[in-house]
Symmetry: C2
Subunit: 313 residues, 2 copies
């Protein structure tokens, strides 16, 4: 019988559970609600129940389950200790030990969800074939992960890859959700991009398609920019400037082979990627300049893939 593992991505709303064969194929997946009540104490039992049920359904015996990988939306240390996961209501405990115990001693490996997603993109996504990678996720916030030698860089408090909080903006800087001013997230997130566009509209008399769209979204801005709407283009160019420059800084630190851009904002595709790469070329140290740029390809499944890669990657 084929050997399998589970790759689990715990989100604030749902838990995604993927069943992988050891040749990296996602053969089945399911989603269960994340029950955050009672300090998140139902989450791990719910996951165990789902895993046990799937093993029975698929007639997989215990000795064919090589392990369970799990991504958590919060900081987690190298040894699997969750530090304080407010998104799930969890305090401090070792999630690897606990889940392993609940599953009768199965190997469990855990990581931060953004870092695990970076591992997923390295293993089977946009960064496939590379072992030194940086993932930059442009979504509601800006996150990411750093992979060196095919392994997640966790950092001393599990806070490596917190790319959204690189100081980036010096003038006219907005306050970030973290409390600091001028973080990359303030201009690189979907929310930040919309805010920047609104600021630009308020500041000028420049005609723009965006003026006709009530509550325009990040996608509207990119659509307008692609149609050469001058104001929208300026907003996108400013975004690409800050991203390219920050990534040049990251490259001077870890010198990656490939930079993968993911998250909802990355749906703007090659149009955005090329602009980021141009700015990167402008600001990157020559010895780091040949880094490739790629779009993430696993979308919302990156977390499941990366979690599985913790076991079989």
């Amino acid at each position: 019988m084929e050997k399998v593992c589970f790759g689990i991505d715990v989100g604030g709303t749902t838990v995604k559970i993927g069943l992988f064969t050891t040749d990296a194929k996602l053969v089945d997946s399911m989603e269960i609600p994340t029950r955050k009540e009672d300090e998140g104490s139902h989450i791990l039992p719910d996951i165990c129940q789902a895993i046990e049920a799937k093993l029975v359904e698929k007639k997989i015996t215990r000795d064919n389950l090589v392990g369970v990988g799990i991504g958590i939306p919060g900081p987690i240390t190298k040894d699997g200790t969750v530090l304080n996961c407010v998104n799930l209501g969890w305090g401090m405990f070792n999630v690897e030990d606990k889940l392993s115990q609940m599953l009768g001693g199965v190997t469990v490996k855990a990581g931060n969800d953004a870092n695990v997603a970076a591992l997923g993109e390295t293993w089977q996504g946009g960064g496939r074939g590379f072992e030194d990678l940086v993932l930059v996720t442009l979504g509601t916030g800006v996150g990411g992960g750093v992979i060196i030698g095919g392994k997640i860089v966790t950092g001393s408090n599990g806070a490596a890859g917190e790319i959204g909080h690189i100081p980036a903006v010096t003038h006219d800087a907005e306050t970030c959700g973290c409390g600091k001013k001028g973080c990359l997230e303030t201009v690189g997130s979907a929310t930040g991009i919309v805010r920047e566009a609104k600021k630009a509209l308020a500041k000028s008399e420049e005609p723009s398609k965006l003026r006709n769209i009530e509550d325009f979204t990040c996608k509207d801005i990119f659509d307008a920019a692609k149609e050469e709407d001058k104001l929208a283009l300026e907003v996108v160019d400013k975004l690409a400037y800050h991203l390219g420059k920050a990534i040049a800084g990251i490259a001077a630190v870890t010198n990656p082979q490939v930079i993968v851009i993911g998250g909802g904002v990355s749906k703007a595709g090659k149009f955005l990627l090329d602009k980021i790469e141009d700015n990167f070329g402008e600001y990157a140290f020559h010895a780091t300049k040949n880094a490739k740029f790629a779009l993430a390809t696993l979308g919302n499944d990156a977390g499941m893939y990366g979690a599985a890669a913790l076991i079989i990657g």
Copy 2:
């Protein structure tokens, strides 16, 4: 008989060769000139000769030599391939293989000199006891190294830890030796600090002790600042701002336990360290904020120590 290794730091002018016992003690050291003529082809034979002579002198038999570590002033890949070391006149070749062959098969490990110095500071210097470290070297230029899990981060082209080339200055930015504008090196190096002071003197009428010193040095600026010379203080504060902010960016990428400040400029001591740390505290993401700051302690020996650490660290 005690086991030993050599830690070698190849500089543009001299080669420093340290003899270490495997309990990390530097028991002897010597310096030979770096003969760069003939495409640097004498450098490795000179090193071999010095090693052989030292083994004879100390009556150390071959089987008690556990290995030779070597730091090179240029980019070098994980497998020991020197890419193009203009400082030594070297082209592309595997220095580990070549030196090992010349020494009759002894284990040889090589690294970039700045990265190797970071390893030295981690092993026996200012970062002792930590395994996730960033070294920032403020000298003629700004260099550094990144250590994760006690190992050097090399990067895909050996260009990891090129901290001096992080984009840092946006306004009134100077051109860096690398050709880019606004690199951290343009304000953080000894040369950069003196230039910034000259600019500040030219721009204002502010009285300053520096006006009375012809060709003042970086040390003069720090001395004046320590005596509360307003203009000198402003120059130091600006330096500390750029360094603290750039280090906050580095911390968002690798989340180190400790940041070690070295190089000639770091002789300004705790006065400078505290100012950098204050700015770091201002710009660092909360989960990375508890990084410790320390001064490098090995000085010019860091390279020898780090090279030895490649073998016995």
